[in-house]
Symmetry: D2
Subunit: 332 residues, 4 copies
């Protein structure tokens, strides 16, 4: 197995999906050992660092990549398996940002109220315990929370000649910010341009569903991926597979539309897996769907439909790619 290692220098970061020249060309079957900078570009380091003072909003959510996958053509399906996610620093940061987040007016939910106060929280990592430490800044609680590393952002170049900021999720993936994107996940993305041009970033040491204040426990991440290519079969919306379940991620506004997209996506996937008529799939999904929100803060919101494999007959999605990549991942 080819293994590519890459730790981008700041001038090598990508800030968009599409529109950035590939840093590498890789063959399907390649493993990638990557480093990703945090979504603040590493600029939020202590609780006295306020976003409005230290951030450059044109340089947030840096991506590692993009990678040109040889043979990938529009209509194909890129399979990216997350073999391992390891915090690359011993601390991480989170912050309220003026007019950004779910529980504040924003540039789009445009209101006349004053912004919430800017506040930064720094989380110290305890690798032995597998925890990060929440320390209240305006009251007194200290709380060790379990590490639960995930990637906020993974995506390919968009369709329709578009170039999209790394801050937005859509059909091409992008900044979906779902805790389902963890080690052990295989992410299936429809290819829109030759070479797929995928990139990753936005490591979170943990995140709740919805990412309420807009920023998770944001930290640099060591990321190990195995990449494969499936000819044809491009899903309209990103699909995820774990050992335990299938997920579809929809991203739009209002939130019900993001969720509807994920539901219709899952009706389709259940149809592919089990030959189910759409109405039967709709009925079955009604009784078994898990519907954990991903983010309610980005320009598109993201919602997940998840179904447990244990409830379903055995099946081999994409001819068992997930199982094969999981096995490969153990050999890196």
């Amino acid at each position: 197995m080819d293994v590519v290692e890459f730790r981008p220098r700041p001038e090598q970061y990508a800030w968009t999906f599409g529109g950035a020249a590939p840093t590498h060309r890789i063959k399907p079957g390649t493993a990638l050992r990557l480093w990703t900078e945090d979504a603040f570009s590493g600029r939020l380091q202590r609780t006295s660092d306020l976003p409005s003072q230290v951030l450059d909003m044109t340089e947030v959510n840096p991506q590692t990549g993009p990678f040109f996958v040889e043979g990938a053509e529009p209509g194909d399906t890129l399979a990216v398996h997350i073999a391992e996610l390891t915090p690359a620093r011993d601390w991480a940061a989170s912050s309220t940002i003026p007019f950004f987040g779910a529980l504040t007016g924003t540039d789009r939910t445009a209101l006349l109220q004053q912004p919430l106060p800017e506040q930064t929280w720094i989380y110290q990592l305890d690798r032995a315990a597998g925890t990060v430490l929440f320390e209240a800044q305006r009251s007194t609680l200290r709380l060790e929370l379990p590490l639960a590393p995930m990637l906020g952002t993974i995506g390919v170049a968009p369709a329709g000649r578009e170039v999209r900021t790394s801050l937005v999720p859509d059909k091409f993936g992008g900044n979906m910010d779902t805790p389902e994107m963890r080690a052990g996940t295989t992410c299936y993305l429809g290819v829109n341009v030759e070479g797929a041009l995928f990139s990753v970033g936005d490591g979170h040491y943990r995140q709740g569903e919805g990412e309420s204040c807009g920023t998770a426990v944001e930290g640099a991440m060591d990321v190990t991926l195995v990449v494969d290519l499936i000819k044809g079969g491009a899903p309209e919306w990103p699909r995820l597979e774990h050992d335990e379940d299938y997920c579809v991620v929809g991203s739009s506004r209002p939130l019900e539309d993001a969720w509807r997209a994920s539901q219709v996506g899952m009706v389709g996937w259940l149809g592919e897996l089990y030959g189910l008529d759409p109405l039967d799939a709709y009925q079955l999904l009604t009784q078994i769907s898990r519907s954990p929100l991903a983010n309610v803060v980005d320009t598109n919101y993201s919602a997940v439909t998840r179904v447990e494999k244990a409830l379903l007959p055995a099946a081999d999605a994409y001819e068992g790619v997930h199982r094969r990549l999981s096995e490969l991942a153990r050999t890196i």
Copy 2:
């Protein structure tokens, strides 16, 4: 402990929250052994029964109650603990209903497309195995699914002199349709009128998050409750407590607003429990929230914010009512 048993006759059903005369007056601390008819009023019995032919849409979602709780005054908090939920029949029904459901145009998401086909699914119960049987009607899958009984509807009389159909969820509770409403749940509802006037109904033998097609595995239910009253402290939105977690349920449209209500409700609850400043609670919630959808089909959508007690310091919500009611429940 007083124990009241009640199996309403059809003419005793309530169809609204508010506006119905109480069937019983009970003291705080009373246990209730109730029977609830299914949301179809028992009229959907075989796969050939189509909603447009057999349902009377003015008689759907019958409620058992309301119960007048002595001493309950506006501003108080009603605590209803679900001790036990047992399917009262050996079958249950689900159905698509024209222009109702999440993946179809409706009377409010008003579109010009033809309705989806009407289709009814009947689920047979296997009590020994603890399962219900899904049988595809337009394709071939048969699947045993675990029983997971829950109550779709629990609520009190609304504020503002209103009388609301049992089909809608709102601040008064009502048709929230969340799988979190299961045996072991204590539901806290703000009291709006003297006596609280709460009722329950809409048993589901199981339901996915979102209740996509609009109807769960709908079945008559034997329901055992223990009821208590907390003076003052009325929450704006319904709160739930399990042994394992706290939940707040928001109900509105669009879906982001339902979820925002549940999030702000949880920011408030965390503040009450731990003396957390709202901004600290917002930050903590960002990293620990579970956000499972409840329903995306009713006139208001319902979304849940859930936090696990295991992540938090020990606390006694409402001075330990949940624990006390759980213990009482075991003695009935």
Copy 3:
């Protein structure tokens, strides 16, 4: 023509649609000379009166009525023609109310920001000039604005046994807050209960489309109506007719759903008037619709679809009721 005059005393106000005993029984063809109190129940009288201090939120938006219309049965269409609207006072009030309005977080768009400041504006009327005077409170502009009297609220008792606050608009009409509801308007409402039980209130001396801050130029109003009954033909959503145009008002959330309801309603009305196939009506409406918003502040938002008669062939909606009532109105 029967003419009924009624100036309710405060204890006679209705606060809901449905659930209030009729103040009068009238025959179709009756004229009503009514007085309506303003939405603040007259409690906001000077700029130093702040809503949080002087309002009783359980007594806002008082209604005059309800009127029991003899012969009205569910499925019928009530036609209420507004013959005249005359400001009943020489001043009117508007105010920001904490967590209410379109450009602030609310109880449903639940956010963590501080409320906007409370501020009250008093408008003096110049009857000769036909204007009200806007006086900025925190800056210096003074501006005479043309009087444009309208009724914020007109509705019948709801379906489904419901009783709804006078603050909400829905299929039964209610607090639609559209400037289209002015002298010369015939409002068609589907009857849900015997007698229809309609009431009116919430006079505005003028209002912009959307009613941004949540309160218009609110003032007591002298209201002259002529009421008629059309057997059958109940529209799903309120319809309005002027000499110049037809309107349908949809009320829901999100705002696109309110508007979709009004559009589908107009597709239906154009079909009734001209025998148009729905797809042809959709196409025609695409090219001629006016879409002025009504309110984006109430529990349901209201949107209007309006089409100009001048663009269309001559037609007699409801067999010319509007023309007949307009003529009758001139004879009162």
Copy 4:
């Protein structure tokens, strides 16, 4: 005055905002005589032409431009005055497109219903009468409708390194589809990149507010513009000025957010023009706003806030640019 004439060949069309090389460099003060192809790229020519058969969805909504405006820098304000819009053909087309439009499920309002039928309407122009002829295809109405030419699309290169399809409206303008964009309009757009890189397209011979079915009376257009540059002052959302009024266009989802953006934008503009405190501007706007919808069909919906100059004191927005460009326009 420099006058540039340009009729692009098909291989010169731009399909995006941003990402396309400029076809011309122009100085502020230049007049442009342009031709724009229709949104169907001219491929829908008779009622038997169905979108699914004749359209290439990667080549819809072609733009004429982009134009590099010398001296334009990020933060500046581009003023584009529409001097004249003349239909360039004697016919125009409109069509339903599967899963596109306001009254159907779409890729984002993802539902399981069958699509609406595809249907194409061709409108014949009567230049002498100033009308287009609507001919029902599935029923019998024929109706002459007044010509009301407008531009669906005008925009600059987006911020944040993005390249956006010409089908979407956002802060950079784009496919706003508002009937307010007619001859006599000055459109103010914030500049995001050096040279501004603006383009225009999507001529409509007329369109209702909301563009319900998704396509207006689409036709090739002769477009005369005068372009100017204002240093600084970039508005967050596009502003329009007519002789009679000021408008702000917001574009987002859900529709209330699009409208909120336009309202907050107008609160700001009123503040700039009259020194009004935001709360006073909010109050004034509440009483005078016109709120005509633009489109409820694109990936972002667009809503307009409009205020009539006749209601306001005299003012010179941007030091009278609109008046100056209007005068220049008469001299071309």
